[in-house]
Amino acid sequence: MELAEKVLAGEMRAVARAISYIENDHTQKEELIDTLYPHCGKAAVWGLTGPPGSGKSSLLDHIIDRERKRGSTVAVIAVDPSSPFSGGAILGDRLRMQKHATDSGVFIRSMASRGHLGGVAGATADVIKVLDAAGFDLIIIETIGVGQTEIDVVEMADVVLLLLVPGLGDEIQALKAGVMEIGDIFIINKSDRDDADKVRAEVEYVLGLKYTDDDDERNPVFMTSAKLNEGIDEMLAGVHAYFDKISNNGWLEQKRKKRIASEIKTILAAKIKNEVERYLREDNLLEHWVEQIYKGKRSPYAMINEKLQSFAWEYHSK
C-alpha cells in the first residue's frame, strides 16, 4: 500500500492524509492500519487532560520545547469539541503551539470530537497508530476540556497527566469518581495564583486517602506555571521517572494489553452493530417487527430473543 509506505518513511503529507482516512472512515482505513500495525509500539504516548481553560495547550507548548531539546520528535493530537448543533468546530488548540509549526520534528493535528463523548475523538486510537508508525518518539493527546467523566484518554495513553487549577472547588470535588481517578501525574497549573498551594494541599490530601501501602501507587503532584514557564522541568523529570518505573514494573505492559482488549471490544461491537443495521434494513424487517409489537401480537423480549437466534444462524452460515 503506497500511502502506508509513505507514512513509514515519515512523509508529513502522507501522515496527514492517513489521519484523514481514519477520521473519515475511508474504505482503505482497515488495510492502512493493518499495514502500519507491525511498526507500532515504539512511541511513548502521553495523555494531557484537565478542565477547560486549565492551560493544557499552553503547557503543551512548553513541553514540546523541552522534549525537542532532549532530541525527541513530538506529535500532538489536539481534540476540541464539535458543535452538537451544526457539527462544525473551532479547533483552536494549536494557536498556543504555533511557534512549533515550522519545526519538522513536530507534527500537530487538530481533531474535532465529532459526537464522541469521552473527551477524545472516536478515531483517536487509530490516529495514534499512524503517528507511532511514522516514527515519532513521543505522542501527546490533548483532550477536550473535561468535566467529571470524560476519561477515554486513559485507555489510549501510557501516562495520563491531569491538569488542575485553582478555583474549581474544595477537596470533596477532588475526591469524586471519574476524571480524578485517571491521573498518573497530577499537575497544579497556574501556580502563580495565590490559592495554588491550597489546591496542592487538597489534592495531596485526597491522594493520601487512597487505600494502599505501596508507595509506588502514590501519584506524584507537581506545580507549574505555563504563563511564567516555571516548574516544567521538574514536572517533566517526574513524568520520565514515572514512565521508566512503569516500563520496568510491568504496569506499562498491563496497560497496553488492556488497551488492546478494549480496542478489540470496540471494533467488534462496531462491526456487529453494522451487521445488525444491515440485517434490519433487509425487507423492511424493522418496520415489520414494529407492526407486530404495536398490534400486540408479540412482546418485545420474546420476539427479539427468537430473532437473535435466527440472526446468529444466518450470520454463522454465511
Partner: protein
Amino acid sequence: MPKRIRILIAKPGLDGHDRGAKYVARALKDAGYEVIYTGIRQSPQAIAKTAVQEDVDFVGLSLLSGAHNELFPEVVRLIRENGGENIIVFGGGVIPDEDIPFLKEQGVEVVFTPGAPMQDIIAFIEANKERTAH
C-alpha cells in the same frame, strides 16, 4: 462518518486585526465546517505547514495591513511546495479591487472584501468542496 470539510483560517504577517477572521471562523463553524484557527502574526511557512499537517480542504487568508500582494502569493507557493496541491486558497480583508486580478493569477481563487455577505463565502465553499475530495 461522512467526510467533514476542514478549513484553515489564518492571518499572515504583521497585522493584529483579527475580528474579521474570528467572525468568519465562527460563521463557518456554525455552517458545519471544522475550522482551524491559528491566531495573528503567522509566517507564510507556518501557515503552509499547518495547512498540510491538518489536511485542510480550504485555506482562508485574512489581511488588513496592505501586504497582501506579497504575502498571499507566498502562502500559495509554499502550500504547493509542501505537497498541498489540491488545497483551495481564498482571501479576505481590506484589498483594493485593482489588486484582485493579480491575486487570482497567483492562485488566490476568490477575494472577499469588506461587506461581503457570509452566504457568499459558504456558497463558494459548497460549490468547490468536491474538488478537494480524497
